[in-house]
Amino acid sequence: MTGVSTLLSVHDVDVHYGQICAVRGASLDVAEGEVVTLIGANGAGKSSLINAICRLRPCGEGHIRFRGQDLRALRADELPGLGLVQVPEGRRVFGRLTVMENLRLGAFCRKAARDELETDLAAVLDLFPRLAERRDQAAGTLSGGEQQMLAIGRGLMAKPAMLLLDEPSMGLAPRIIDVIYGAIAAIAAKGVSLLIVEQNAFLALELARRAFVMEAGTITLSGPAASLVDDERVRAAYLG
């Protein structure tokens, strides 16, 4: 790949679940500081691809590079330390831990000073006041939307260089979606690269510079977000 600015590059990746082939020969790349979105129907293989990038799934023959380093030689838990962090689909908060414990775990990979962590915590709680109200409640008892906020907040606590967001707006009230996308935009503005998987394609395409469309396990379209928004097929399928 060309040059300096490519942060994440995925080339020819396959994901299999036993017999089922969920992703076939997918390639994509994200440049330093870029916001990219990946859209596609249910079951297209978006989450599978994201999980392959994060080393939660074996990825066949292709290669995955982050800052030029081959991720295939690393374990999933080594990635956050490199600055690659995923906010997984379906929230997956630690149900028995409290809200604060969840957030602190988000910063597990950082070797930051205590007060630095405290300021970051305060920033997240500021973003989601609801979480501040629930700080000592077990995360499992939060409402769905509150859990989603927590998952995103937890991802932010890692101060990543690149954030993979898998359906961040799922289950959120319209107003909160605005808040979250506002926050995501703010993060992007700070130079964090983003790869967003989104069903709400409007939102994603609005924020992203480039987009990839996935269908039945392969990436079928890619290009600047603006041009995709105008693509007839995309409009029909994903913008409704």
């Binding site: 374990r75 838990d77 008892t141």
Partner: protein, 359 residues
């Protein structure tokens, strides 16, 4: 006024009847009859009053001695269960192996006659158990991380057999004896009570070990990462937590505690054999459940409760009913306590109610 109350009561009762199924009623009946039975036993035993105050006190001391050994063992169960949701059936044998590991150096160490030697003995036992625990985690459990709970359970049973029969092969079929340790011989006079020094030593040592563990878990990120791994290994990895390392560490600590318990056990009972681990191990797990599994202070309390129940139970509950040879049933009391706790308070004495999964 009275009529109003009666009516209100009537309505409440009717409402309760509407809400409850027959199972609820059975459970209520069970609860009531247990309560009646236990209080009757207590009252009758007290009415007989065969025991002096000193007797009761010495029951308490035995109970605590045994309880601190249970407590130390239960920590290993609690932590491993907390992280892997797996009953490590071999943990009792890890405890046993600790006692045997220390046996190898026991004679020369004891011969030096210093308290320091006893501490060294404990260190050897703890190191043996920790090494064995970590080894079996690596060889026998790690491959099962994603394989449900049954395969690792069976594997644990296999490991338990291997440890028992290995020790048996190494050290012979009979019991092996620990020699009397002069520094710990003798009694401490506490009021009307003569407490053997060993027992005091064991209680103290156990408390110290557990306190240290509590601090370790409280004041490092270990506690939180253990719980995170327990809940969702993949997501924990996404946070940068190395599950393998956390698990190994858990086993190591559990092993240290079990090995300590093994040596303390040997100091008190002076006889060890290859099969002693299993039954005591089950008690240790029971203690963990009593206290609320996954809860470290709970495990300690659970151990003490179990030890006390065993030493008091037969005298305080059964002898009142005139049951012959009540001490034959002390384990039945211990298990009975366990079952009752599980039925009526599944989260244990201290455990928080397991957060109900959201719908």
């Amino acid at each position: 006024m009275d009529v109003g109350k009666a009516a209100a009561l009537h309505i409440a009762l009717a409402d309760w009847r509407r809400r409850s199924t027959w199972v609820d009623m059975v459970m209520l009946a069970l609860r009531v009859s247990l309560l009646v039975l236990v209080s009757a036993g207590l009252l009758l035993s007290l009415a007989h009053n065969e025991y002096s105050a000193a007797d009761w006190l010495s029951f308490a001391v035995f109970g605590l001695t045994l309880g601190s050994i249970y407590a130390l063992i239960s920590l290993g169960y609690t932590m491993v269960y907390g992280v892997l949701r797996m009953i490590n059936f071999a943990h009792g044998d890890v405890f046993m192996a600790g006692a045997f590991g220390a046996l190898i150096v026991a004679d020369p160490l004891i011969a030096t006659g210093s308290l320091f030697a006893v501490l060294a003995l404990i260190a050897v036992g703890a190191a043996t158990s920790a090494a064995i625990a970590a080894l079996i985690e690596r060889v026998a459990y790690r491959p099962f991380r994603h394989r449900g709970t049954l395969a690792p359970l069976i594997c644990a049973i296999g490991v338990s057999f291997v440890l028992q029969y290995t020790v048996r092969g190494f050290f012979g079929t009979g019991s092996r004896a620990y020699h009397d340790i002069p520094v710990l011989d003798g009694v401490v006079i506490l009021g009307p009570l003569q407490v053997p020094l060993v027992q005091l030593f064991v209680i103290l040592a156990a408390l110290l070990a557990m306190g240290a563990l509590h601090l370790l878990v409280q004041h490092t990120r270990l506690g939180a990462s253990m719980r995170a791994v327990a809940e969702d290994r993949e997501t924990a990895a996404l946070m940068g937590i190395n599950a393998d390392r956390v698990v190994t560490f858990t086993f190591l600590i559990g092993g240290v505690m079990a090995g300590t318990a093994g040596v303390l056990y040997a100091l008190v009972f002076k006889q060890i054999h290859a099969f002693m681990g299993f039954a005591i191990g089950i008690k240790g797990f029971a203690a963990a459940v009593l206290g609320g599994i996954g809860n470290i202070p709970g495990a300690m309390v659970g151990g003490f409760v179990l030890g006390l129940a065993e030493s008091f139970g037969p005298a305080a509950l059964l002898s009142g009913f005139g049951i012959p040879a009540p001490y034959q049933l002390k384990d039945a009391i211990a298990y009975g306590l366990l079952v009752i706790i599980l039925i009526f308070r599944p989260q244990g004495i201290f455990g928080e109610r397991l957060a109900v999964k959201r719908m």
